[in-house]
């Protein structure tokens, strides 16, 4: 699994490539927390365009980050998940808390919309 981090306004964009399972989830959690600390940000977008596999360990990481981001008053979203990953998110009942979008731009718009709502 490889991660690329980018900050856009108050949103931290994390582009993930490879597989997310219990083994790689620990690294995803560690690097995301470290990036939030160093790069800042109130919202998180997980870019799933290059994620080839995810099991429920990925959901665990997302829930953890959702709680973290919620405490900052921010939003979290998933961009470009494949059908199976979307099904796993739907099964977990988290579609409302962790909405997914077909494009990165739509996910960014969602995250930034929350900020404009808050103003």
């Amino acid at each position: 699994m490889e991660l690329k981090f980018k900050r856009k306004n108050k949103t931290l964009i994390i582009q993930i490539s490879g597989e997310i399972d219990h083994h790689t989830a620990a690294e995803l959690r560690r690097q995301t927390e470290s990036a939030l600390e160093q790069m800042g940000g109130r919202n998180i977008i997980f870019g799933f365009q290059e994620v080839t596999f995810m099991d429920s360990s990925g959901i665990g990481v997302m829930i953890g980050r959702y709680k973290q981001i919620q405490s900052l008053g921010g939003r979290i979203a998933i961009a470009c998940p494949n059908e199976k990953i979307e099904e796993i998110i739907r099964l977990s009942g988290l579609s409302r808390l962790l909405p997914s979008f077909p494009t990165l731009n739509e996910a960014i718009a969602y995250a930034e919309g929350r900020e404009s709502d808050a103003v």
Binding site: D21, H22, H23, F53, S56, S57, K84, I88, L91
Partner: protein, 142 residues
């Protein structure tokens, strides 16, 4: 049961082996010419079962996980077993969002995902002796 073909592998209960287990199952079942979606279903279910064995069965301590794959026609059989601590309350473990390890950010969706992506999931568990998960799925005929 007499299988048309079968394979069994034993490996250390290490998280690094989760991807190996998925690839083993997928590689073996490729002989049946499954769709990508069917293969992903099996890989996801295997990943959940193996992760359960490592985290809950052995609690991240030393142990051996067994993975069996077999098929009769287009009907596949998968078993994942450990000789770990066992599950005290299997019905509770199967409930969506139930996790005995919330501190580890576990989602509690493992069995729900196995049951959704496979057609039949059975759990045999004895406290102090271990757990064996049986999963079945019929692949679409061409």
């Amino acid at each position: 049961m007499q299988f048309d073909n079968e394979a069994r592998v034993f490996f250390s209960a290490k998280s690094e082996n989760e991807s190996f287990a998925r690839l083993f199952a997928a590689g073996f079942l490729t002989q049946l010419d499954p769709t990508i979606s069917e293969l992903t279903d099996v890989k996801t279910a295997v990943s959940e079962a193996v992760t359960n064995a490592i985290i809950h069965g052995y609690e991240n301590k030393t142990g051996i996980v067994e993975l069996f794959c077999g098929y009769v026609g287009k009907h596949i059989y998968i078993e994942v077993a450990d000789k770990g601590k066992g599950i005290e309350n299997v019905e509770q473990a199967r409930e969506p969002l139930y996790t005995s390890k919330p501190e580890m950010e576990r989602s509690g969706m493992g069995f729900t995902i196995m049951e959704t992506f496979m057609e039949n999931v059975r759990i045999e568990s004895i406290v102090g002796e271990g757990t064996r998960i049986f999963m079945e799925k019929t692949l679409a005929k061409e």
